[in-house]
């Protein structure tokens, strides 16, 4: 699947809660391209019937890049088949899902090295070198 146009109305089974989200994603992509503004969609706040969340995930597919974050439990950050559309799933230490998001952005913020961590890491490296 290479374009959102390829997803036909007939391909939306269940209760009709997936298509509006994909439409929202297209609007967010337009905004990203036109103004550079990123969008985050919190999937926890939206109604899904049985199987619809899985259907949404399958509709978006898997892209070229995925990363795993190991902090307060595992997180999966994966670009979907649609560049600029990222699927983020946060899990806690018990491996329970605590948050699912769609980020429409060039790079999710959580992938960037954070200033505070860089400072702490620099200090650790200095200690190791005895500086």
């Amino acid at each position: 699947m290479t374009s959102l146009e390829g997803i036909q109305a007939a391909a939306f089974p269940f209760h009709g809660n997936v298509r509006p989200i994909l439409n929202e994603v297209t609007h967010a992509l337009d905004r990203l391209l036109e103004t550079g503004e990123a969008t985050v969609i919190d999937l926890a706040g939206l109604p899904f019937g049985p199987g619809e969340l899985e259907y949404l995930e399958a509709s978006l597919g898997t892209g070229e890049l995925s990363a795993t974050l190991d902090a307060l439990g595992t997180s999966c950050i994966r670009e979907t088949a649609f560049p600029g559309v990222w699927w983020l799933e946060h899990r806690n230490a018990l491996d329970e899902v605590v948050g699912r998001y769609l980020e429409i952005t060039r790079t999710p913020e959580i992938l960037s090295s954070q200033e505070a961590d860089i400072v702490a890491g620099r200090a650790r490296l200095g200690d190791q070198l005895g500086n």
Partner: protein, 351 residues
């Protein structure tokens, strides 16, 4: 007041990276039903937030609310207790008992005078103080003594918020809600039988994060979670709009997952977040399991008529008329919600 560490300090001491902290903030935004754009502000607030002291009182209750809280996945109850709040008194969860437990309650009240939160589950019997006591203290006396120095009181569950099952007709113990006894402190109602774990933790998180109490509806419930009806956010709503209803629990409509309105679903008059937040780490909620909503977060839900009686009873005398009207779904929704509100108003007035 003793100096308590900030949440940022607690997480830093545990070796949590900034990325981990951002993840924590993202899930916090979810819990508070705030847009993800608020994450930077939440991060700033949490870094400097001090863990509030919390005293949990259990009166005429079944411990279902605590059971629910311990199922909270985000944050886990362990995470909440050790990182975000200082839970200084809770019968079921604390190791101390008897005099030691009461000493812990008094110590928390003295050390945090004016700044602690009191969480209450269960209703309070006024019929006879001996109906429910803790360490020889009646529920009403313990409540009044404990809330005297509190910043706010949170009524956890429908019993504490509205009297609940102990207060159901004929109310043999003279059970009343917290709000009927505490009139000089902010009281936040978090009803449900039990409430959704995340809704309970959200109220605590809001207080922790911003030092404020959530915006409330006219029944004292946080609007972020009780601002919309179950019906508004139900994934089966499209079937309601199409006039497709289950007529019995094993018919074609039930198997196809059609709307449960005719089986007594109280979704149109029930304000709660079950349809989106769901239960058991987001696995499901009653309607998704094929059962109508009972309306457990509404006042007097136990006495509001049969659980399996359609809200429209009295307004529609046949299934055909009901289905016909439901084609114009929204109109019926308004009628059903109005019928529900009428019953609720009647109950509230009589109750």
């Amino acid at each position: 007041m003793k100096r308590t560490p900030t949440v940022g300090e607690v997480l830093q001491a545990k070796g949590v990276s900034r990325r981990g902290f951002l993840k924590y903030c993202a899930t916090t935004a979810s819990i508070l039903a705030l847009p993800p754009s608020m994450i930077p502000r939440i991060a700033e607030a949490i870094e400097n937030a001090r863990r509030p002291s919390v005293i949990w009182l259990s009166f005429q209750e079944c411990t279902g609310c605590t059971e629910s809280l311990t199922r909270s996945a985000s944050p886990t109850v362990e995470g909440l207790i050790f990182d975000a709040i200082s839970l200084d008194y809770h019968h079921t969860l604390q190791a101390a008992a008897g005099d030691q437990a009461e000493a812990a309650r008094h110590a928390a009240m003295e050390e945090n005078d004016g700044g602690y939160l009191v969480l209450v589950d269960g209703s309070i019997p006024l019929g006879n103080p001996g109906f429910s006591t803790i360490a020889g203290i009646s529920n009403v006396d313990m409540l009044k003594e404990t809330v005297a120095g509190a910043a706010a009181v949170v009524s956890i569950g429908s019993c504490a918020a509205f009297g609940g099952i102990p207060g159901a007709d004929p109310n043999p113990t003279g059970a009343v809600s917290v709000g009927e006894l505490v009139t000089d402190k902010p009281v936040i109602n978090v009803p449900g039988c039990p409430p959704i774990p995340m809704v309970m933790t959200a109220v605590l998180t809001q207080f922790l994060t911003f030092g404020t109490l959530p915006e409330l509806d006219k029944l004292g419930r946080p609007l972020a979670f009780y601002g919309k009806t179950i019906h508004d956010r139900c994934y089966r709503r499209p079937f309601y709009e199409q006039g497709k209803f289950a007529e019995s629990f094993d018919d074609k409509g039930a198997k196809a997952g059609w709307c449960l309105f005719k089986l007594g679903c109280k979704g149109p008059m029930t304000y709660n977040a079950c349809a989106t937040t769901k239960w058991n780490s987001g696995t499901s909620f009653p309607i998704e399991s094929g059962h109508p909503c009972l309306g457990c977060s509404e006042p007097g839900f136990w006495d509001l008529g049969g659980f399996y009686e359609p809200l429209s009873t009295g307004n529609f005398d046949s299934g055909e008329k009901l289905a016909g009207a439901a084609v114009a779904g929204v109109a019926l929704g308004v009628a059903a919600a109005a019928a529900g509100r009428r019953r609720q108003a009647k109950f509230t007035k009589e109750g």
